[in-house]
């Protein structure tokens, strides 16, 4: 009787130690699910979801606080990917969160007064300039988040849709007209 008790207590202590060691040794920093969600998000850092960047939104989704249909730059495909990842149903975009065609910001350099407000707003440091110097957008780094548009006091920033060029042209999905037979 006593020996059985001791065996059980010994086993419990041993397993407890092993688990305790494993909890420290194999500790995972941060939330791995949030990382996975963040990898799916388009990283525009635009805040249209209501969170200050893609990472906070990913964390909110991981905690179950946010819906998966709040990211217009990711498009419907982004919602599908999130739905697949999280094993939930697809949810269409709401009324006021519709995806727009991709665009990059453009500064009208004639009008720019060099106030640096847009530089402070840009989440990816894609604007070059200094106080009282003309600013300009590094188009290849711009995510099209539109965060620089509102702070501009002289309204010199516009969003220019990315044009289709030979270099970024894509083959289209084959479509063929139906022909009437008799």
């Amino acid at each position: 009787m006593i020996s059985a008790l001791w065996t059980m207590i010994g086993l419990a202590a041993l397993l407890g130690l092993a688990l305790g060691y494993a909890a420290i040794r194999f500790r995972v920093e941060g939330n791995p699910l949030a990382e996975k969600i963040d990898a799916v998000l388009p990283q525009t850092q635009c805040g249209q979801c209501g969170y200050p960047g893609c990472k906070p939104y990913a964390e909110a989704i991981a905690k179950g606080e946010a819906d998966i249909n709040l990211c217009p730059p990711g498009g419907e495909e982004g919602i599908h990917k999130l739905a697949d990842l999280l094993g939930v149903e697809f949810k269409p975009f709401g009324e006021n969160a519709q995806p727009k065609p991709k665009a990059v910001a453009f500064i009208d350099e004639q009008t720019c007064i060099g106030c640096t407000l847009c530089i402070q707003a840009c989440p990816v440091d894609a604007i070059v300039g200094a106080a009282k110097q003309m600013h300009t957008i590094i188009a290849s780094e711009c995510t099209g988040c539109e965060l620089c548009v509102a702070p501009c006091p002289v309204d010199c920033i516009s969003m220019q849709p990315i044009e289709e060029k030979v270099s970024n042209w894509k083959w289209k999905y084959p479509v063929y007209a139906l022909r009437q037979v008799a």
Binding site: D38, L41, P42, Q43, T44, Q45, G53, C54, P123, V124, D125, A126, E141, T143, E164, K165, V166, S167, N168, W169, K170, W171, K172, Y173, P174, Y176, L178, R179
Partner: protein, 561 residues
């Protein structure tokens, strides 16, 4: 004679090659206007180095290569550049691209050409020369030829591709018939640059005259090259398939031929290499087949930038022609308009009519008959790829090796349901490429955003530290200044600090007195009077100040009080 090998699949479409091989290559007349696109090769677009209004000579560089994968563009004749702008080009998108418009002056005046002796050049110098001369693969892929000379491991076999497997196209056939010597010399230059032992020239057995001409040229040159006759099958002219047929080696998925010790060049590219090295002539023209629904199908040697409309007009287009195809009927692209210019990739232009190329019947559902899989020369499962592409399941399509597809069209050719399979594969490929690019952009944005967060945090910390330091310094100074306050500053004139301050004040006063006012010449009497009035007021104020504060003359003693 070493044995030949074969590859899986392939088809035997009607060749239609005899029509355009009845007459020799005809030089095309100089057109009234040339339009030269700056993107005529795989990779980065060339950067224009001329301006509108500039006069250029034949062979003068007008676009220089940018980046690793790029090539140069030259003026095909002498004349004036009238514009550098967006123009329609031979591209399936029908979108405009950057082009130079050249109006020839008719003199065809060459720029300076420097013929080189390839034996005195290193492989590296030859690469540089080919890049400068804008030599690219003329089989249709237009990959810069200089890059194909680079190889990580030794290359022991050079293959010259004269298979020309696609129906209707005969430009390589005619070039081999008429300019075999130059092709063999070009092959020798490439062999030298690659330092290979074996050179195999693969020609399909439906070109007996080209085979004879090449064999004679090889015999006369004395080089130990081998002309190998390969069976006619489509797509036997694809580089990877010709390598398989001639050597039995298969280029692994995602690898280059040089990884298995083989390199392959088109015969027309070898010819361009010979012109570039032994004559110093950049690539400014090519042989192009004009065939299909025309009265006189034949090959023309035309300058790059010649509008296709002028070329087809030379062969007299039949009236029911309603569209034009650049390249062959299997892999070619429909031209957005017939006035687009000839480019380095244009091996053939086919005038097409509904009678010659009847529109395919409407596609029917896939019945999974797997005839496409039997025809596929890359041993893919086209029916599965189609299924994944049409349902936008790109991950799965990639798993089934979509990117090994060479878009030869053999699957679509045999499909009993006439499904445009290649269009689906092209769609899936370009979607996957676009997504990869988006993913890269997102990763870049994430890194930049994270770095920015880090930087803001760091700046905040630094600012807080600076403030704390300032506060500490202020507190220390206050503590140090407490005993100094009760001492009368004027009594302490011996103090060195006070002395220094007095000296500095004296210096400043002397400087102010010595400084002559500027802009005082050419003054009207009225201005002079105003200035004098101001000076008088100033003097008065100074006197007042001196009277009021005579005893505290040194205005500041120490910052502490």
């Amino acid at each position: 004679m070493s044995p030949l090998f074969s590859f899986h699949g392939g088809i035997h479409p009607p060749a239609h090659k005899d029509e355009s091989t009845q007459s020799p290559i005809v030089p095309a007349p100089l057109p009234a206007k040339l339009v030269i696109p700056f993107r005529q090769h795989a990779g980065e677009m060339a950067k224009p180095v001329v301006q509108a209004g500039e006069r250029v000579l034949k062979g003068q560089l007008i676009g220089e290569p940018v980046g690793a994968v790029s090539s140069a563009v030259h003026a095909p004749t002498s004349g004036t550049i009238t514009a550098i702008d967006l123009q329609r080009i031979a591209h399936p998108s029908a979108l405009p691209d950057l082009c130079a418009t050249l109006v020839p002056d008719g003199r065809d005046e060459w720029t300076e050409r420097t013929p080189l002796n390839y034996r005195q050049l290193s492989a590296d110098q030859l690469q540089q020369h080919l890049r400068r001369c804008g030599v690219v693969g003329l089989g249709g892929a237009t990959f810069p030829s200089d890059l194909k000379l680079r190889h990580a491991r030794p290359v022991d076999t050079l293959i010259l591709n004269g298979a020309e497997c696609e129906p209707y196209i005969t430009c390589d056939d005619m070039l081999m018939r008429e300019r075999a010597d130059a092709i063999v010399r070009g092959a020798e230059i490439l062999r030298y640059a690659l330092a290979t032992d074996t050179v195999l020239i693969g020609i399909e057995d439906n070109k007996p005259q080209a085979i004879t001409a090449m064999q004679r040229a090889v015999d006369e040159s004395g080089h130990p090259f081998k002309v190998v006759v390969v069976p006619t099958i489509y797509p036997g002219g694809s580089a990877k398939h010709l390598i398989k047929v001639l050597t039995g080696l298969e280029v692994p998925s995602g690898k280059l031929p040089t990884d298995i010790g083989v390199q392959c060049y088109n015969v027309a590219t070898a010819y361009a290499v010979q012109r570039a090295v032994e004559h110093g002539e950049p690539l400014i023209g090519r042989v192009v087949t004009v065939t299909g629904n025309v009265e006189q199908p034949r090959n023309y040697e035309a300058l790059l930038g010649t509008p296709f409309s002028e070329l087809v007009a030379l062969s007299i287009v039949r009236r029911d022609t309603n569209r034009y195809i650049m390249g062959g009927p299997m892999m070619g692209v429909e031209l957005p308009a017939v006035d687009v210019p000839l480019v380095k990739a244009s091996n053939c232009v086919i005038a097409a009519s509904d009678a010659l190329f009847p529109l395919p019947p409407p596609p029917m559902p896939c019945i999974r008959c797997t005839r496409c899989a039997q025809a596929c020369p890359v041993e893919l499962q086209p029916q599965d790829l189609y299924w994944f592409a049409q349902s936008h399941n790109f991950g799965k399509a990639q798993e089934y090796d979509l990117f090994d597809c060479i878009e030869c069209g053999a699957c679509a050719y045999v499909c009993p349901s006439s499904i445009p399979l290649v269009q689906y594969y092209r769609y899936a490929k370009s979607e996957i490429r676009a997504r990869d690019q988006e993913k890269r952009a997102a990763d870049l944005a994430r890194t930049r955003h994270e770095y920015r967060q880090f930087r803001l945090e760091r700046e905040k910390q630094e600012k807080a530290e600076r403030l704390a330091q300032k506060e500490r310094a202020a507190a220390a100074a206050k503590a140090a200044a407490v005993p100094a306050t009760p001492v009368d500053p004027s009594a302490d004139a011996n103090d060195t600090q006070q002395l220094r301050i007095n000296e500095a004040l004296a210096r400043a006063k002397a400087q102010a007195a010595a400084a002559a006012p500027k802009n005082t010449g050419n003054l009207t009497p009225q201005q002079q009077a105003e200035i004098e009035a101001i000076e008088a007021r100033r003097a008065h104020i100074r006197e007042l100040a001196a009277d009021a504060g005579a005893d505290d003359e040194p205005p500041k003693t120490s910052r502490g009080n």
